[in-house]
């Protein structure tokens, strides 16, 4: 583990006498290795190490009897600060229905998470509706309809309309008619570099002005997390993040990368395939997982 590696590094260094500033570099090397192994983007790692090094160059570490423990504490605290606070809820609009738009890459878990969110709100006594705005993927509409049935939440869909913005606009009107107070728009997976698809998504946003745009990202995402999140944020705008497949064993460094590059809060995590497997995000747990 990183703690053990740092303790061993400092044991060797202290064996030579008093710690000096250059000795901290050996510790920073171990931390860099751990973060890169955890899929934190290399640029984000650089910035993080600079912060940690600065904090580690004080008396608190250099004159400590347990410098390894001091550094680990600095790393952990810094990670938790960067990962953001808990309990970043989805803000409901004063003028219902609250419009939530789910966006992200292919296969990240948008459709499943849309249903999970609907179930979560229904359990809170609200009246959510789902909208099947993925007109591209084979059986995407069927997938959302099936999930909606599982939780008895109405799903707005159209098998004739070809334009997602139109479907979403009609869905919003239907939600108002049925006095639903939340509408969750499931959109098609798309690449951040696909200009036409990003334009299509922008058109949906312009048509229904979402109160909350949630970026759904796979916890296993690697270095590209920065490119992806940055582009989605610049082209569409992200209000919050949901990190899925956290029930796997990916270290989840993407969480730090995405947080760093968008500044937006991670609001939920997906912890399984079943529709009730949505949990609030806990930064300390994410931090210790990243550190391995």
């Amino acid at each position: 583990s990183l703690s053990e590696k740092l303790e061993s590094v400092f044991r060797k260094l202290k064996g030579k006498g008093v710690l000096v500033k250059d000795d901290i570099d050996a510790a920073m090397k171990e931390i860099r290795f751990a973060l890169l192994e955890a899929d934190v983007n290399f640029k984000v790692v650089k910035g993080f190490i600079d912060k940690v090094k600065e904090k580690s160059l004080g008396k608190g570490v250099l004159e400590s009897l347990t410098p390894g423990q001091q550094v680990i504490k600095i790393v952990n605290d810094e990670l938790c600060v960067l990962l953001g606070s808990e309990n970043e809820k989805i803000r409901l609009s004063p003028n219902p229905p609250t419009v939530i738009m789910m966006i992200g890459l292919h296969g990240s878990g948008k459709t499943t998470t849309s249903a999970k969110l609907a179930r979560h709100f229904k359990a809170q006594g609200r009246r959510p509706m789902l909208a099947a705005a993925d007109l591209q993927r084979p059986a995407a509409i069927d997938q959302l309809i099936t999930l909606g049935k599982q939780i008895d939440v109405p799903v707005f869909f159209s098998k004739e309309d070809k334009i997602p913005a139109v479907v979403c606009k009609n869905a919003l009107n239907e939600a108002k008619k049925q006095a639903r107070d939340i509408i969750i728009l499931d959109t098609a997976g798309r690449l951040h570099i696909a200009e036409d698809l990003m334009k299509e998504l922008k058109a949906v946003k312009d048509a229904v002005t979402p109160d909350e745009i949630l970026f759904v990202a796979d916890a296993m995402t690697g270095q590209d997390a920065v490119n992806i999140a940055k582009t989605f944020n610049e082209k569409i705008g992200i209000d919050g993040i949901i990190l899925t497949k956290m029930d796997g064993d990916a270290r989840g460094g993407a969480a730090l990368s995405i947080r760093e590059v968008t500044g937006r809060p991670i609001k939920f995590i997906g912890t399984g395939e079943k529709i009730d497997m949505l949990e609030p995000f806990h930064p300390e747990r994410a931090a210790s997982r990243i550190l391995g």
Binding site: A38, D39, N41, G107, S108, G109, G222, G248, A254
Partner: protein
């Protein structure tokens, strides 16, 4: 990073970052960069062009020769498609089926993802798009039974190729990995020696976890080939270097889009060139 330029420590750092950015991982990157640094310090590498040539050769050496699918040595030839959730298994099966049919082969698909919402409907659409036959049971039925029935149908109808779609599953879930082992055993009962290819589908956007996925799936059911999807994004799929190096599993093909034609044989030279784009 300029062409005929002389190099210094910063150049080496920049190339190291390029390799890291490709998801090659710190361990594999460090090994290659240490080799590079050695050549630089001994003076045998002097320019950026030398560096690129060295890196390209190192990577191509690890990846080895192209090892595309070799299908049809048995009849029916059975491919079992596995991998974690959302990586592109079902779509990749559609692409493989379409290519096989267009090359004059008869194909049957097994809709053995009986768990996920609309998984059977999704594969059914790919079957009609690719002109493949399909065997499907009720939602929630035994996946092994679907695979078995598809192979029996292939034998009865003298079909060339069976492709079995399975539910996405995280390698950390032992009951699901046990289910996969059972599917494999049942396939083997229908045809000893089958599945002839167990294809692990890996998402190029995933990071280091893809190596772990490969290890665990390989331990569970034995992986004979890899399909690397979503290479049309900005992710470079560098993790395949570690997968090839540590597990020596051939990388068969790459997915480059959502369309039925968006599939290419994995060519190490092309993959390596793309790393430098």
């Amino acid at each position: 990073i300029f062409k005929g330029k002389a190099i210094d420590d910063t150049t080496i750092e920049e190339f190291e970052e390029m390799l890291l950015a490709s998801d090659m991982g710190i361990k594999a990157t460090t090994e290659i960069v240490e080799g590079l640094r050695g050549k630089y310090e001994s003076g045998s590498i002097k320019t950026v062009e030398h560096v690129k040539a060295f890196l390209r050769q190192s990577i191509v050496d690890i990846l080895g020769l192209p090892q595309p699918f070799v299908l049809y040595q048995e009849r029916p030839f059975v491919v079992l498609c596995v991998g974690v959730n959302g990586v592109g298994k079902t779509t990749t099966i559609g692409k493989i089926a379409s290519k096989a049919v267009s090359e004059g082969h008869s194909v049957i698909l097994a809709a053995a993802d009986t768990f996920r919402a609309a998984a059977i409907e999704q594969l059914d659409i790919w079957a009609s798009r690719s002109h493949a036959q399909i065997v499907k049971h009720q939602h929630g039925s035994d996946p092994a039974a679907v695979a078995f029935d598809a192979i029996e149908a292939a034998k009865a109808r003298s079909l060339d190729l069976v492709i079995v779609d399975t539910a996405g599953r995280l390698h950390t879930k032992s009951p699901l990995m046990e289910e996969l082992k059972k599917i494999k055993r049942v396939i083997n009962k229908s045809i000893p020696g089958a599945p002839h290819e167990t294809l692990l589908v890996v998402d190029a956007t995933n990071g280091q976890n893809a190596l772990h996925q490969a290890k665990i799936f390989n331990e569970a059911v034995g992986i004979t080939g890899i399909a690397l999807t979503k290479m049309d994004g900005t992710a470079k799929g560098g993790i395949v270097l570690s997968i090839k190096k540590e597990l020596n599993i051939p990388i068969r093909l790459i997915g480059v889009g959502e369309g039925i034609e968006d599939c290419r044989d994995f060519i190490p030279e092309e993959f390596t060139s793309a790393l430098f784009d």
